[in-house]
């Protein structure tokens, strides 16, 4: 197992190099002159434009820009954005917000999703199963932007149950955005669990467990659920990466100063250093959680071994 993990971690190095170059090239390929856009309706002085273009190596060819960037990166310098702010500061200030948001979302996803899925799955085609089917279909079909505004307006503004914006109320501020962010995945988790459970309920080993007189609860939790979780764990693991990078809408509507918003702003301003810094980090997060998922397989199903 140890060797397997080490090999996987080593593999991340070429993946991250490749990913960062790809992103770098994509930002480079964006048309237009980002320095020129800094001034807005009124242009910066020509010498200032020249100075900034020079400072950010924007006149160099793509490969040279990338080599300079990676060179700085290896010395721990993430570079600065066009406004002179350290990219590393942006990351360290905004990452905790996004991590908290993702944690809350994952918690909702796991707790509500799995409980609903199990309850639907053990009584397939029963009343609760139909309730889950209809409600998850509904949730999945509503765009997250609509969901976010509706939740903010009704639960936040009209009922006053949750704060509407910002992070001033600690974890409490993350509840509503976390729920909104989790909504889509939550529905998937519920359905995945349900299908998986319903299938396994008919499996031989469950019948055996029942036949030898185990209490119903033990049959469901220790035998069925554990064996049904593999597809769910795969989904949730991959979802962590998505939640971290894809929270742009939620972060904007609920005014959370997170990483999604930072990336969005940076792409619009063609801030190569910021985009590459953050996205490369997200790639690493994604790879890391995929590794965690793979390791978890072995825990869930002892038949799976990595040698």
């Amino acid at each position: 197992m140890g060797r397997y993990i080490a090999r996987r971690l080593l593999l991340t190095i070429p993946v991250m190099l490749g990913a960062s170059f790809l992103i770098f090239a994509l930002v480079y390929a964006l048309p237009g002159d980002p320095i020129r856009a800094l001034g807005g309706d009124r242009p910066l002085a020509p010498a200032v434009v020249a100075q900034l273009t020079d400072e950010f190596n924007l006149n160099d060819p793509l490969w040279l820009q990338y080599v300079k960037y990676v060179g700085d990166l290896l010395q721990g310098d993430f570079g600065t954005d066009f406004r002179g702010r350290e990219v590393l500061d942006t990351i360290t200030q905004r990452m905790p917000v996004t991590i908290k948001l993702a944690l809350v979302a994952i918690a909702f996803e796991i707790v509500i999703g799995i409980v609903a899925g199990v309850m639907a799955g053990i009584r397939k085609n029963g009343f609760f199963d139909n309730v889950v089917l209809v409600s998850t279909t509904l949730i999945v079909s509503i765009p997250i932007l609509v969901l976010a505004f509706v939740a903010q307006f009704t639960l936040g503004l009209q009922l006053g149950l949750f704060p509407i914006a910002g992070v001033n109320d600690g974890w409490y501020s993350y509840l509503l955005p976390g729920l909104v962010l989790a909504a889509g995945s939550l529905a998937y988790v519920a359905r995945l669990t349900r299908t998986s459970i319903a299938e396994n309920m008919r499996a031989d080993y469950v019948r055996t467990a029942r036949a030898k007189g185990l209490p119903r609860r033990d049959v469901i939790v220790r035998h069925t659920l554990r064996n049904s979780l593999i597809p769910v764990v795969t989904f949730v693991g991959a979802d962590i990466g998505t939640l971290m990078g894809g929270a742009i809408v939620t972060e904007t509507v609920f005014n959370l100063p997170g990483i999604g918003r930072a990336v969005f702003d940076a792409v619009r301003a063609q801030e190569g250093a910021v985009v590459v810094g953050i996205v490369t980090l997200l790639v690493f997060v994604f790879i890391f959680f995929n590794l965690v998922v793979d390791v978890l397989y072995a825990v869930l199903d002892p038949r799976i071994r990595y040698e």
């Binding site: 964006l30 856009a37 242009p43 434009v49 100075q51 905004r94 006053g160 509407i164 914006a165």
Partner: protein, 552 residues
């Protein structure tokens, strides 16, 4: 091992559940009184700001969000009254000149920065030199281009725009410190409006601490204004400022402290205002304009702002080189109808080139800004305009211009029988360079908001030959020696009345030549909560935070 793993998982589940429970309990406590945060200690309120684009350094701030924050932290040489008139309530005792070229600035005693150091003539001269020096890459650098020696502070560049060396000098030769409280400014050409310009943030003083650590300073600025920074500015979140007790100005801050909160989305700010979590919203979301007056009642504010929206003509394009064509298209647009339909009446149809917020505005002076379909059609025929070719209307993407530009197109089609094509696919980063290289093929959207309240600021930077790209904002490439001469005469006029007269004459030339289609003068809307009173929109469209009074 398996068993222990599962126990951990169960414990984790329990923690998550407990967290959820406690959070739900919390909702009961907080549910009722949304606005308690603002009123608790009697003298605090919160203000919405968008993310400032730059570090909070006056010489590098050229947009409105950053301006809103730093204008609470600094006071310049002069201040502006609500009608834009110059008031000597700032640091300057007097700004005088005999020839409009060499200006002597006399400072008042007793002004200090928030770190206790005095505001001296050197504080201004150092700040101006720093901002003008091109290697410092300050956004407002060009404001000093009229001061003698500016060119020597610009680094030389080769043909491709690469910096090839250091500038010839580090200090503007036109700036001279006479004594602690006096300095002299020598301009490259006479400019009677100079005292009006120095209220702009590019001209604010900087303490010595700034030059030691410009980067750290941008997060925790030290000014001389009614408020001082209490902690660092946190991107995405904001900054809290507290009243500066040693403020030397005439109008110290009323509130104990102000919380500038950064929002990503105006709608969220508006919801937060209604929920009572936010006290001042200096701007309202467009789709709330129609209902905001009912929702907010007497907490709704509206004031004319300096914003000016126009469609520029590519005067270099043969199709638009005839002034008669330019007059005709302008007459074919019903501005009021567009304002009502698209902006819920929140834009004033432009009837001049100079906005109503400055002295020198003349109401209804633009003859060709009024809808006159017959005259417009007659003019187009007279000019032999080819109506079979569609007109291309250009605007930058993703900035909410689609609807009104399309409305302009529809009006041209209906009134003048012209087809139109919308060219709104370019982002600002592509759109602006295209304008600079004369690449557009039809009327293009641009906006302007003033830097200082003078009619000159609406004329010279937009239509003079000296302001041609890439150095200036004259994207229409309009050039008229007669206009330039009148501006120069206005700049060197001996009195304000005389200057206004020349600027009016210059505007008259534009009113005939029509290098642009003047579209709208903006109105600024704002709202506030019940926790504050005396909320006033100033001439720049900002909220004067020093005056805002917390009431509970």
């Amino acid at each position: 091992m398996n068993l222990s793993k599962r126990r951990t998982a169960l414990v984790a589940g329990g923690v998550a559940a407990a967290m959820l429970l406690s959070a739900c309990g919390g909702s009961d406590d907080n549910g009722g009184g949304g606005g308690d945060g603002a009123a608790a200690d009697g003298g605090t309120f919160s203000v919405y700001v968008g993310e400032p684009e730059n570090p909070l350094i006056p010489g590098n701030t050229t947009e409105s969000e950053g301006h809103q924050v730093i204008s609470s932290l600094w006071t310049g040489l002069i201040e502006y009254a609500a009608d834009g008139a110059v008031e000597y309530t700032g640091v300057a005792e007097s700004i005088e000149s005999e020839d409009n070229t060499t200006w002597t600035v006399e400072l008042k005693d007793g002004w200090t920065f928030h770190d206790g150091t005095p505001v001296t003539a050197q504080s201004f001269v150092d700040a101006w030199n720093y901002t003008a020096y091109s290697p410092n890459a300050q956004g407002a650098s060009y404001f000093f281009s009229n001061i003698l020696g500016y060119d020597d502070l610009q680094a030389p560049t080769d043909d491709e725009g690469n910096v090839t060396g250091d500038p010839a000098a580090e200090e503007l030769s036109g700036l001279r410190v006479i004594d602690e409280n006096t300095f002299e400014v020598e301009l490259a050409s006479p400019f009677a409006q100079f005292p009006v310009t120095v209220g702009y943030n590019a001209f604010w003083p900087m303490p010595e601490a700034f030059f030691e650590d410009p980067e750290g300073f941008g997060a925790m600025p030290i000014g001389n204004g009614p408020f001082q920074a209490e902690g660092e500015f946190v991107p995405g979140q904001g900054i809290t400022v507290t009243r500066y007790e040693d403020y030397a100005g005439e109008d110290p801050a009323v509130a104990e402290s102000v919380d500038f909160r950064v929002y990503a989305d105006l709608n969220t700010g508006y919801n937060d205002l209604q929920a009572g979590n936010l006290d001042v919203l200096p701007d309202l979301p467009p789709d709330a304009l129609a209902s905001a007056q009912d929702v907010l009642g007497d907490r709704y504010l509206e004031a004319p702002s300096s914003g000016f929206t126009y469609l520029g003509y590519p005067t270099y394009d043969e199709r638009f080189s005839d002034p008669r064509v330019r007059q005709a298209l302008s007459m074919g647009v019903d501005r009021q109808a567009i304002s009502d339909a698209i902006f819920a009446g929140s834009r004033t149809p432009a009837d001049a080139y100079v906005a109503p917020v400055v002295d020198g505005y003349r109401e209804g002076v633009c003859e060709y800004c009024e809808l006159d379909v017959d005259a417009a059609n007659a003019l187009l025929d007279e000019a032999g305009f080819d109506r079979s070719q569609p007109i291309e209307l250009w605007f930058n993407a993703g900035a909410g211009h689609d609807a009104w530009v399309q409305a302009v197109g529809n009006q041209l089609r209906e009134n003048l029988g012209l087809d139109y094509v919308l060219r709104g696919e370019l982002d600002f980063a592509e759109y602006l360079p295209l304008l600079d290289e004369q690449g557009v093929t039809g009327p293009f959207r641009l906006g302007w908001s003033m830097d200082y309240p003078s009619p000159q600021n609406y004329l010279e930077p937009l239509y003079s030959t000296a302001a041609l790209p890439p150095a200036g904002s004259n994207a229409t490439f309009y050039s008229n020696p007669e206009f330039d001469a009148l501006i120069q005469q206005g700049n060197s006029a001996s009195s304000n009345e005389e200057a206004l007269d020349f600027y009016n004459q210059a505007e008259d030339i534009l009113l005939e030549d029509m290098p642009i289609i003047p579209m709208f003068f903006d109105l600024e809307q704002a709202g506030h909560s019940e926790n504050v009173s005396d909320v006033v929109i100033d001439v720049f469209g900002d909220i004067d935070v020093a005056n805002v009074t917390p009431t509970s």
